[in-house]
Symmetry: D2
Subunit: 358 residues, 4 copies
């Protein structure tokens, strides 16, 4: 569209624009299409990080970079190619592979940023959240909501790697973050099978009377793979029995929620687990907000913006806002997903468009 | 207090009062103290029903009264002695012992009234809720929220009894109830170990993506004893480890909740399970609203309004509004509790007074 | 329906029923149809109280009955003919005409019961709510939410009468009420035109920063007729301009709300004002819950359960639960309405049936 | 703090860092202090824009730049000096002076971005929001919530200027915005004194029965100065009478709210009006999130980060996140304020620190 508002380039206009600059002003009419596009036009691009690349690089950093106070974590952020090097996987989300060598400790600290970990393989690390030791094992989803002290330690002779998800870019861009150092060693080196938070909170539909106040984030420190797997298995069995249980044909899914409210686990991050039957395809959809997936098991593909990316275990991909995406399963196909949907929904910017056909 | 408003008994006053009556009027000043007492003055009285009386009477009714359409249920309501025979355990709540003989079926129907069942002993009955067969076993808490079709059938050669809880008096007094007959036989005689509702909904902190709309009542049809028992066991273990987990010393407790909201299972009825260590005593408290308890296991006592009632397995007692009550455990002491607390709280009439000492 | 559960009347059965009685039990099968009817079957009946009867009787009581401590209020309750004399207008609601003679004071007290006043005529009384003097004038709707101290005094040489609405029956039946006497004289005899509550809270869409905590009940002590009248007038004008503004053709209506939430003014009582154009008729509807209307101005009729009742200024009528009702305007017809809808809705018992035609 | 994680600069490390870059990775340990500072460290800086500069530049643009389709609005954005020229007043907020010449029309469009206007002087423009013409006059606060069509036209022979506030930077950074062109002329050139939205919605505590569904944003299109002024005047009078009514001594304030919820007018923007008595000073406070103020009347100063800025009518200043700020009144001092507080609060990042003394 040509604009009625592009005036003739006269000395007077140049003087006006120079005056704008001098007074820290900037007119809307020269930049409207960029600032307020017809639909989201993300700088972030669709991208896949291969686990086959990530894990060796994490190992190499384990050899070269000690973990400790100051740097705090041996975490390597996924830097969306659209952002010119910044370690943001999307405009709101941070995703990193974190690596802890045998017997290492990552010191305790806390921050306003909400954090989780998801374990695609390995075991032997405990994360200590506000003094409660939480075992980390394959398939577990673990929470460290904002302002909870936390550190990690590896009890074994094997290194362990997992992914971290945080709202670092959102916090950074909007100036909301606080950070505080804690103990240089974790405050409890016990290695219980289940954290105290789990022993209190992980009975379906049961709420301790000592925990009747709703909490901003979930009080469950660890969502165990055993439960996630069974939930998905049952959805597919129920579908076979002709019962409504899946989101779409061949596509089982659960959301991780805060049991005190039934809502998202943390105020800024949604987390889900998806399972597709071998051969299943999802509808193509566009959503406002950005998502990150990690393949947990099986093989398949994601189609983003018309391009098909083949995927295997551990691969991570990002779907920027309003990019059409769909999944295709080459085997049974399990994926962990997290997104900024709570931000989008709480501020009423959510829209979804399900496209006909795939 | 003597009232300034008790006028002299004159012919004019008698005429006035007669005129009031003729015009369907009734003055406040003659009845204020009754209508608006200084504190709740319930007609309902504290009372204990002994399981040793209830069960044989239920058996006898099994011999004499067929179950079927019209009467619908072989349920015998607990009639608070303060109400002159009405089958209300409290002004808001109904509690009955229901009995189903070998191979019997109680036909399907639905009603606005919210209902649950709690099983103090036995097994072999399935309740079919909107077509979903739900096993009933000792310790299970089972829901039939308002307007869900439901019937029961006994698969075995043994009779089975359990308690029903409903908001029948509340619905009756406030004219809110609808009722509809359904199938004379239950719509599905399958006897699965777990209902479809459980297969979808009973994973801690996991919510199916096909169930993202919040529901007025819990979608969980059965809360199993295994989970309740473990939750209580862990609370007491955590207490021994010096962790905050119990409501008061030696007193573990859970509330049954709707996983879509974290709130009560149904809009009018709260349900909880309490466990006291051998020798523990609870603080004495007064609460607005009425509660019913059934002893599930162990021996102990309840003190209500200063009177001590000894209790054993199956005994049921009612605590009317604002009557001080406390529990004493003679062994490990397990009690199921239900109450009208959601009514009281949603209408902001709740008050609690914890008395010093016991 | 004949019941399969009416067993033969044998000595054994009689013995069983006698045993039930001895043990404070009462079977469901003999009373199901009464306790759980197909649809609400209220004891309360539709009824009209004529202002032409009410006001003279209130005057007569002003001559014969002093107002003061103990009886507290010269209030004459409307006793639904279905209740055998009890001063309940419906199972949940109390409605009374209150009368205060020249220079009289009704002493201060407070109670859990939620109360309001509506003024169909007159002026000159101030009600003092937690120390804040509130003028009462024709058309005003005035709140005394639960547990606020309040008393009234008449500044003039003329008596004044108005109606009171409370949740006394609900509180009484469910044992939730507390009551406390306050000062024998009101604590402030000032007669300001506007209460402090109005000076803080009655600017459209403006909330004082000193009042950011939501309150259970509205902080507005007086809803003035001037605003109600203008709101209704504008709705009818907008309707004439072809804009959506009325609830149905020729029927303007507003709800009085708590500005901190947008919800009902008090947890148990809804209040509305309705205006019909001359000649308008409303659709016939059935609703769960009970309502009371007072004609504020004009002439018309209400049809309840197929019976037409002619109405004029001051007349009060009650619509019990699920009774079909509609209004017909013989002139412009203004009605104040209050109901127990918040109770019904918060407990999810609400249903409405709009009948085709009238 | 020196970091344990700054490894020796070896060829192997350089190789590792190069590999990171090649694979779109970026380690946390080299940038933690920047990404996750101890407290918010905004790029935005405190800044004041003088009305004496803004208005003449807007006039000049009125002479040189036609208004019309494409550029859409003659709006000149305030560019925070910390952002290097981008037209963001803070990381979340846009603030512009908009100017409309005699008889001009700004065409209709709609966008996801939430918008408001505040009028510091002048009159004669109507903004047409979803077909409803809304008069704009001095002191009025006017809403255009996301996805409402809107255009403006000036009825007079005088130009008019006002400020616009939007969440453009937030929408842009997080990829949530949609935009659609509408009519090139406004759809209704009527010039009523009050919009239809006001005629329906601006009666204190009254809600039309035709508007019982809660809305994401306020249905009130215009908050009039008359009400704002009276609300502030009464707060200060009540304070003089010894009543609690102000936020702090000599400081009256109101929040503009959505009457359907009592909450903020739009999901991303809070708006308030503050009045200080001559000589009053506010406490110094730090808040998470950014605010913009415009002086509406009087003279005074703001202290930001220890620097005092003198202010007069029309001056606009921004307070970035966590910068300490306080106000000082040299006369009665009136300020309009808007902020991103709803974003901060809905995502639970809110913190406030009131500093002792000033």
């Amino acid at each position: 569209m040509t604009s009625a508002m592009q005036p003739e380039d006269t000395p007077a206009l140049r003087k006006l624009y120079a005056d704008f600059k001098d007074h820290h002003l900037n007119p809307l009419w020269t930049q409207l299409g960029d600032l307020m596009p017809r639909q989201p036009r993300p700088k972030a691009v669709p991208h896949v990080w291969k686990w086959g690349d990530l894990f060796p690089l994490a190992q190499a950093s384990g050899d070269l970079v000690p973990v400790g106070r100051g740097g705090e974590r041996r975490a390597i952020g996924l830097a969306n190619p659209g952002f010119g090097g910044e370690a943001y996987v999307s405009p709101t989300l941070w995703c990193a592979i974190q690596y802890l060598g045998p017997k290492e400790t990552a010191p305790e600290h806390r921050h306003s940023q909400n954090a989780f970990r998801f374990v695609v393989e390995g075991e032997g690390v405990w994360t200590v959240v506000n003094g409660d030791p939480v075992r980390m094992s394959r398939g577990d989803f673990l929470l460290t909501p904002g302002w909870n002290f936390h550190g990690h330690h590896n009890e074994t002779d094997q290194p362990m790697a997992w992914i971290d998800g945080l709202d670092i870019p959102f916090s950074y861009n909007n100036d909301v973050g606080f950070f505080e150092f804690g103990s240089e060693r974790v405050t409890d080196y016990a290695t219980p099978r289940f954290s105290r938070s789990e022993r209190l909170w992980t009975y379906p539909g049961l709420r301790p009377l000592s925990g009747l106040e709703n909490t901003v984030s979930s009080p469950i420190a660890a969502y165990r793979w055993e439960h996630t797997d069974r939930a998905l298995t049952e959805q597919l069995l129920l579908e076979e029995e002709g019962q409504p249980a899946t989101v779409e044909q061949g596509h089982a899914a659960v959301r991780f929620v805060n049991p005190t409210t039934g809502g998202d686990v943390m105020p800024t991050i949604r987390a889900e687990f998806h399972r597709l039957r071998d051969g299943a395809e999802t509808a193509a959809r566009r959503e406002v907000g950005s998502s990150v997936f990690q393949v947990f098991d099986g093989r398949g593909a994601v189609v983003m913006g018309g391009v098909t990316y083949e995927l295997e275990k551990g691969d991570i991909f990002v779907v920027p806002s309003w990019i059409p995406w769909s999944l295709e399963a080459r085997t049974q196909f399990d994926l962990f997903r997290f997104s900024d949907a709570p931000i989008i929904e709480r501020l009423n910017f959510n829209r979804t468009l399900v496209e006909s056909g795939n």
